[in-house]
Symmetry: C2
Subunit: 355 residues, 2 copies
């Protein structure tokens, strides 16, 4: 019940432990096609170039940014927690001039601030935003910002590492150009892959670069050769992890996205009630809280490190520590994917009572 | 029996399918320490910073090069096949001025050519070489080149993706500064991780860079925070794959490195005899052939694609196609790690006879 990994679904662990297929075996190539098809449903996109980066969610972030940005480009990055800060760092290392739109940790990014930044930087090439800030538990509303970004014609890069599969993500509806996620949150697959999707507009931008993509490993133009119909060898795909992702996406779609969202919301409400009753308080304001990640201030009498150690050692329950300004005073409790279930909420509350 | 992945050892598949630990769980951190310790034995190094990159062997290559190279640096890269060519590409994308030392595909890199390049480029910062060229089956002798590189004081980057665990690799003895590998060859672990080791001299070079490492994800200075004793969160580690690597390294060390090398050599001799008898001929000259990867020209009467399809569909045996100049005329047959066993040699030869 930490901020990720979630518990893997049994179907995922079974798939993970299977003997390997070759990375160019026709049976495995069929699995790749099905992963892409399932990801299109979950991302809500028709993007052809929808696949999984061979690295964790942070590799997905880097793939998103280094493909569309090149030295001298201007990028606007929204920062209200660890992951917005990480995007700023990655964009800077890609040689971009980075402008930040900031909010206090625990608050949403305000559309007015985004509008101002877009107006002040008419040459910006991309705008990057985090949907579900895992460091604060803030759920970022997208609609108003998406309209602003669309009106200004800049590329929209969206981080859905923690949200995908657990709350609505609408890549095509929002006009997102590059959207990436991770496997270890609401998809209930171990960490190690980053689902990602590129719009045709984003791919056009990559194709018209003046300089090569700085990363050979993450170059979407080269990856297109393998994930597309040519099946050209690029690097040896992480076969077992992809087979596990295939199983995990199947589990998500078998349940159905709407049912998954409802389950995450219902268990979140149950946990929230129990936590507030026990004196915990949320960092994020009401109405802007993630259902899958609860960042809460500890009540008096609960000492961070010793209480977490006791939960882990005595009860086998992991919760995450606070990051940045919340270190030592907050916990991050995950109810993600397979971990989001009523009995887990009950177990945790009971364990807290016994502290 | 392709050029990788090899078959995973049963212990590895069992470890892969286990429920997850958290990436900061004390039990998991112990696994990380043990991975580093086992890798030091297999790489033959005392390097403190010995770990696994969260991506495939190609991510290891990129991690090696982008950490030590920065824009304007001069790098000498040896190219006699696909993977030398890939190193040249990656080094160029890191902004380095790249000088190639080339040999024909299927021949070794000649020490005299390396000596000439080192003399002509006294300001070169790094020299990069492939130990086991998977595209040609050539085993590169290291000793003479290692002495030249040492005498010139440049950083020595060595690719041991295909060799590590199956033939002697001696990082400290050869004076290698950055050495990387992959999991899916002689370590019998699925693809997805890249074991890597940095000498203190290489880490000093990284620390004294004028520019940040272009990749946040692969920045060894940041990764040191997690793999070192601080245990600072960087990215969520690929927990299941690392648990599998831990098991795979245990299998290698349980057998013993010398016994593993002897097994690879013995089965290679058996396969070579059978192939030559059947009219196959080796691309690499006698004395410079890899025991774990056999790149052989097809005899008359064997049609590449249809014969490979027949082996796969009728016998469940995968062999790899030729790359580059060998496409359509050669096969690449792997006898790596768990796949290197007498009965597999017999099965393949029997299947070839039945073509």
């Amino acid at each position: 019940m930490g901020p990720g990994p979630s518990n893997a679904a049994p179907e995922v662990l079974e798939a993970l432990g299977r003997p390997l297929l070759g990375h160019l075996d026709p049976l495995f190539l069929k699995i790749l096609d099905e992963i892409a098809e399932k990801l299109r449903i979950i991302f809500r996109t028709n993007n052809r170039m929808t696949f999984a980066v061979s690295g964790t969610g942070s590799a997905g972030m880097e793939a998103a940014l280094v493909n569309v940005l090149e030295p001298g480009d201007e990028a606007i990055v929204a920062v209200n927690g660890v992951f917005g800060g990480r995007m700023r760092d990655v964009a800077g290392r890609a040689g971009a001039k980075v402008v930040s739109v900031e909010s206090e940790w625990g608050r949403i990014i305000e559309p007015d601030d985004v509008a101002r930044a877009l107006d002040e930087h008419p040459d910006a090439k991309a705008f990057a935003l985090v949907h579900a800030e895992t460091s604060t538990g803030v759920a970022q509303p997208i609609d108003a910002i998406a309209q602003l970004v669309k009106a200004h014609g800049v590329l929209f890069v969206l981080d859905t590492v923690t949200s995908l599969g657990g709350m609505p993500v609408d890549v095509d509806g929002w006009g997102v150009d590059v959207c990436y996620s991770g496997t270890q949150k609401c998809l209930s697959v171990p960490p190690g892959l980053a689902p990602i999707t590129f719009s045709e507009r984003a791919l056009d931008v990559v194709r018209s670069r003046r300089t090569p993509v700085q990363s050979w490993y993450l170059d979407v133009g080269l990856l297109e050769g393998y994930w597309g119909s040519d099946r050209v060898y690029h690097h040896t795909a992480p076969i077992s992890m992809l087979t596990a992702l295939h199983a995990g996406l199947g589990v998500v779609l078998d349940e159905g996205l709407e049912k998954s969202f409802a389950r995450h919301a219902a268990n979140a409400a149950l946990l929230a009630e129990g936590l507030v009753t026990r004196g915990f308080s949320y960092v994020a304001p009401e109405g802007f809280r993630l259902p899958m990640l609860h960042c809460v201030r500890l009540p008096d009498g609960v000492e961070d490190a010793s209480a977490r150690a006791s939960l882990l050692n005595d009860r086998g329950i992991e919760v995450g520590s606070g990051l940045g300004p919340f270190k030592g005073t907050c916990w991050r409790i995950g109810l993600m994917g397979h971990t989001s279930r009523q009995e887990n909420v009950a177990r945790l509350l009971e364990a807290i009572d016994a502290l």
